[in-house]
Symmetry: C2
C-alpha cells in the first residue's frame, strides 16, 4: 500500500497538507448527526470539540470509582498493559480497558458516543485503542507535543486520517493542572518528523514521547497559525479530537489530579496494515489489529 | 533574636498563623498610597496584586532588548550570579542586576514602583534581591511551590514578613506557558517545612527547590482554602506579591517563553540577621546583607 504520510525517514522535518477530509460524512448530511452544524463546523475548523456535561453526575461518580478500583487491583500487576511513571512505580495508564473490563466496555460502547463518531468517520467504527490515564497531583509529568496519527501511521500501520480520539474528563480540568492543550487547525498539516523508529519504541514512547515529536520550528509555525486551546471544565465533559490534531500537556505541580478515560475510534474502512516504517507491529493492546469487538451503529 | 518563624527543624510539618501585618502602612493612610483602596484590599486579602500595562510598550521593548543583551554577554561567564538549567547550559537566571547593570538599576529604582512598595512596607526599603528569569519555550522546567519568606528567613536571616516581591512580565503570560501560580490567602499561614538545610543549599535550590518545599497535605489545605490564581496578560504588567505568599509554576512545553525581571524590596527596618538555621549566610548577590544601595522615598 502506498505510504501517503511518510515520516521519520529524513534528518530534515517537513510540513505537508492533509490528504483526507476532517469530517468523513458528507456535510450535506449534517442533519443526520447528533452534533449541531455549529459543533461540526467547530470540529472541522479546529480539529477538536469539547462537549460539557456529556455524562451525568451519577455516571461520572461511577466512572471515578471504577478507575480507582482498577488502579488498586492492578497495583502489583506485571502486565504490559500497565504503564508506570518514568521515575517511580505509580500507575500512569492502563490499556485496553474496553476489552479487559466489562464496565469500561459498556462506557466505550455508549450509544451516544457511537452516534457521534460514526458520523464523524462516515462509517462503522471499531476501537483502535483505549486506556485510563492517571495524572496525579504534585508530580504529573508533561507529555510532549505530538500527532497521534503520526505514531499510529508509522508504528501501527494506520493508513489514513480517519480516526477520532475521545477523552472523558474524570477530574475537573483547570488551566493549571496539566490539561490537554490542542493546536486548532493543526489537523490540516502533517509534520514529517525526523529520525528512525527503534524496535520496541512503544514501551518508551508511552512514558515519554521522543520519536514522533515535531521539531520546534514546525511546532512554532503551527501554534503561531492556530494558537493553543485549553478545554477546561467539570468532570463529565468529553473532548473529541481528530487523529492528526497536534496536542500535548504540561506537568502538574498543583494538588489536583487529572484523570481521564481515553478511546480511539477508527473507521472499519481504515483498518491497520503493516507499519509503514518497516517496524514490527505493536502489540494488540496498543493497536487493535484484527478487531474482535465490532462496534455497529 | 527570637526566631518567630522556625522551620526545617522537625520531621513533622506544621501550619501556624502569620504574626505580621500584610500591609504595614496603617490602612487609615490608604489615601497616601498610589494604589486604590480596592487594590490594597485585594493585596491584603490575596497576598498579591497584578497591575496591567504598568510599563509602556516602549519601556517593555527596551527591557526585552536589554535582558537578551545581558544573557548574550554572559553566555560564557562563570560568575556565581549566573544560574543555568539543571540539565544543560542555558542561562535560567542572572542575579543582582540592580547592582551590576546601570540600566536595570534604573528599572529597580523606578519611582512608580518605590512609591508602591514604600507604602506596602510602611517604611523606606532596600533591594534584598534582584534577578532576570529566562523561562524558555519547549523546555521550561517547573518550579515547586514555596514561600519566599521561608527561604529568606531560614537561609538568609530575614526576621519578619515585611518584604514584597515584584515581577515585571517581559513576555506575554498565558495560562499555558508556565505562568506564576499563586495561592490567594496563603500569605496568612506559615508552613513549617520538614528537614534540615544542608550547607550551600542555595546553589542547588535556585535550580530546583527541594528543601523549603511545603508538604503535600499542607499545600492541598492551602489550595483548598484559597484556590489557585494565575495572573495572565501582556508583557509590561507587574505582579506584586507578599513575601510569604505560596507560589510556583508548571513547566512549559509551548513555543512561548516566559521571561521576567524580579526584584525583592525589604523594609530597612527588617534587615537581615544571622540565618536562623545555623546556616552560613548566603552570598551577597542572593541576599543583600549590608545594603549599599539605599532606596529612598
Amino acid at each position: 500500500m502506498e505510504d501517503l504520510y511518510p515520516s521519520r525517514y529524513s534528518s530534515e522535518p517537513e510540513i505537508v497538507k492533509r490528504k483526507d477530509p476532517v469530517i468523513h460524512a458528507d456535510r450535506s448530511k449534517d442533519h443526520e448527526s447528533p452534533l449541531s452544524t455549529e459543533q461540526l463546523d467547530f470540529y472541522e475548523q479546529n480539529g477538536f470539540l469539547q462537549i460539557e456535561n456529556f455524562f451525568s453526575e451519577q455516571e461520572v461518580s461511577e466512572m471515578q470509582k471504577a478507575i480507582f478500583e482498577l488502579q488498586n487491583s492492578n497495583q502489583d500487576s506485571e502486565s504490559d498493559m500497565i504503564i508506570r511513571e518514568p521515575e517511580g512505580n505509580e500507575i500512569r495508564s492502563i490499556f485496553k480497558v474496553h476489552d479487559s473490563d466489562e464496565y469500561f466496555k459498556k462506557v466505550a460502547n455508549d450509544q451516544r458516543i457511537l452516534d457521534i463518531v460514526n458520523h464523524l468517520l462516515g462509517s462503522e467504527v471499531y476501537i483502535h485503542q483505549s486506556r485510563i490515564n492517571y495524572k496525579p497531583g504534585f508530580t504529573g509529568k508533561e507529555f510532549d507535543w505530538h500527532s497521534d496519527f503520526e505514531t499510529w501511521h508509522v508504528e501501527d500501520g494506520m493508513p489514513r486520517m480517519r480516526a477520532v480520539s475521545l477523552s472523558i474528563a474524570l477530574s475537573d480540568n483547570y488551566t493549571f493542572n496539566g490539561p490537554l492543550m490542542l493546536v486548532p487547525g493543526s489537523q490540516n498539516y502533517y509534520v514529517k518528523c525526523v529520525g528512525e523508529t527503534p524496535e520496541d519504541n512503544y514501551k518508551e514512547s508511552l512514558k515519554r514521547q521522543k520519536l514522533g515529536v515535531p521539531d520546534q520550528e514546525s511546532m512554532r509555525w503551527l501554534a503561531d497559525q492556530g494558537g493553543i486551546s485549553v478545554p477546561t471544565g467539570k468532570a463529565g465533559a468529553i473532548t473529541l479530537f481528530e487523529s492528526n490534531t497536534m496536542h500535548g500537556s504540561n506537568g502538574n505541580i498543583t494538588p489536583y489530579p487529572r484523570n481521564n478515560m481515553f478511546m480511539v475510534y477508527n473507521s472499519v474502512e481504515n483498518q491497520l496494515v503493516e507499519p509503514f516504517s518497516g517496524n514490527q507491529a505493536r502489540p494488540d493492546f496498543i493497536a487493535e489489529r484484527n478487531p474482535k469487538l465490532k462496534v455497529n451503529k
